[in-house]
Symmetry: C2
Subunit: 358 residues, 2 copies
């Protein structure tokens, strides 16, 4: 059962309550390079990114927000550390949400100013604790993170502001899970999930899927971000794959493929790579199976919309567990590609998705 959280709006995206869980990312470009940043956001949009965060380290970066906003189609979250003037400037320039910790701002006057401007514009503030690695033992680390967030929340509530999103991110997955479980039971603000400093892609996919996925299955979490040292497009792709595994979102092809073993007689990995190359931008949800053995393949992938397997010179295309066509092995991919393309077009038509979406 999903935790009941308060609903909030980030640009034209609603989070919390029973709303769809959007996938976020963050640009890695220098925000001063406006066009580079815009082009990265366009790549993220194409991958399905629904909310993007940008770093605002100084006034020049804040100045660029309105230019960026004009060129992109998803809400912009501005990431601010310490300097309250950057928060004010970001909101004035059109930020759809800001991320800052009021505890870093010592003067209450500034906090009031930020809160009242955010209130006026109807934009939320994300507060959080994401201490990469705490010195404390896991148990007290959890308490330290939860107390940290409660303190940030208290400061904002103290100046009458409650349009809050919270996040608790640790590089320690178990600490992240426990701290989010705890905070989820204490307050009703929507929660942004992630594992901080999760490392390069492979490490992050493992740590983030465990941490974010665990919490989502428990019903906790209203928006997610995979932190990956690398291309942010990978963060978005991973987000959708995780949400699909949890039955929470559907987007693009789900490719079921066997790990191959001494029984496999066709080049599974090659076929998967070709399918990814040719259908990687498909938006409509379809389940595709690429299996290594003719005996078990079609049966094991009974619910795939389309699948292939083969061996001994023969290629088999199946649909919903039933053999649909038998072809020569060397024309297997060509025929399969054609059939899959037909399925994709049919789905796009029925979902009214134009080619320009791809």
């Amino acid at each position: 059962m999903r935790r009941k959280s308060r609903e909030t709006r980030i640009g034209d995206i609603l989070i919390g309550g029973s709303h769809t869980i959007p996938v976020q990312s963050m640009t890695k470009t220098d925000t001063h390079n406006v066009w580079e940043t815009i082009s990265e956001i366009h790549r993220l949009e194409e991958a399905g990114c629904e909310i993007v965060r940008i770093a605002i380290p100084d006034m020049e970066a804040a100045e660029s927000i309105s230019k960026i906003k004009k060129e992109v189609h998803i809400p912009i979250v501005c990431d601010i550390h310490f300097d309250p003037r950057l928060a004010i400037a970001s909101i004035e320039k059109g930020a759809d949400k800001i991320r800052l910790n009021p505890s870093n701002i010592t003067e209450e006057g500034w906090i009031k100013k930020i809160a009242s401007l955010a209130k006026e514009r109807g934009i939320p503030i994300r507060v959080g604790a994401n201490i990469g690695s705490l010195k404390q033992k896991p148990k007290s680390a959890v308490d330290a993170l939860v107390d940290g967030v409660l303190e940030e929340v208290r400061i904002l509530e103290g100046v009458g502001f409650s349009n809050i999103v919270i996040s608790i991110k640790s590089s320690d997955v178990l600490v992240t899970i426990s701290a989010n479980e705890k905070i989820a039971s204490l307050i009703e603000y929507p929660i942004h999930l992630g594992i901080t400093e999760a490392g390069v892609k492979d490490d992050s996919l493992i740590k983030s899927s465990l941490g974010i996925g665990y919490l989502l299955r428990e019903g906790i979490g209203d928006t997610i971000r995979f932190s990956i040292t690398g291309d942010p497009v990978e963060e978005v792709k991973a987000g959708f794959t995780l949400l699909r595994s949890l039955g929470l979102r559907k987007r693009g092809l789900e490719i079921i493929s066997c790990p191959t073993c001494g029984r496999a007689e066709i080049d599974i990995l090659g076929l998967v790579r070709k399918t990814q190359r040719d259908f990687g931008n498909v938006v409509v949800p379809l389940k595709v199976a690429i299996m290594g053995c003719v005996v078990n393949g079609p049966g094991e992938a009974r619910d795939a919309d389309i699948g292939i397997t083969g061996g001994n010179g023969v290629g088999v295309i199946f649909k919903k567990g039933k053999v649909f066509k038998t072809v020569k092995e060397n024309s297997l991919y060509r025929v399969f590609k054609h059939e899959l393309q037909k399925l994709v077009s049919k789905e796009e038509k029925s979902l009214n998705i134009s080619d320009s979406f791809r």
Copy 2:
């Protein structure tokens, strides 16, 4: 709290009870190519693989078991479908465990023969249900999988055999989690965890980490395998990373690195890649941080044994959150590598690990 499961032995590895959770993999070579298979197992051993499965599709493959056994250092599990004679031959040739479903063998005489031979040799039989994708709705899919495994168990128990390991793998992560939760509460045999047909590396890391990791945090699971369409060494690496995230195993470097953002002033990804290249084979556990900003880096990675950050021509090496050395940015990696090498050697000495282990 970890589920109490019955202890069993696979070669010289004990699983179940409160034993360490070993990481498994499966060869992708044709078992008939004995030397290719042995060489793949050697690569797996080097990556830390502790139990390896090989496919036995026919008698010739079964014949090769004793040759393979002679050259490798980890227990061999033989994967058999349908043909009971392959099971008998595999056990006779020295299999440390066999994986087969007795329900596929219609003659009770054969089942008795296999069970009594396995009993005599003291080797376990893994039974399981891993229907890639069931037609049923999740809820009944769970029941179908659980009933399937109970049936396999009942057949073996019926002939007086109880040295059983069970597995329930679906390509649907939620189904896998629910089915394992259910079976774990019904019987006390050790459980082998995995997600079947999880796809290529990225997809499998996400689905398997969620599924396997979720269950392990709940205390369920006695040995694990990541199924990846691709190099099986990746399955082993992923296994250790997941177990490390769960605090269950320690092996090699844990590299904490920030996702980089508009604030990063050094080439984080490049530094991580160099560190992986130079220290990828290290066995001793060390926590290494590679951070993008001098202001927050050392503090956010307080519990890293060693870390680096930099910017504006300056490189900083820190240990346990304290600045240890400041160097020119262009000599940062060289000095860091030297310091990390010293730490590794010290750890290896204290853990009595010789260079030959790497």
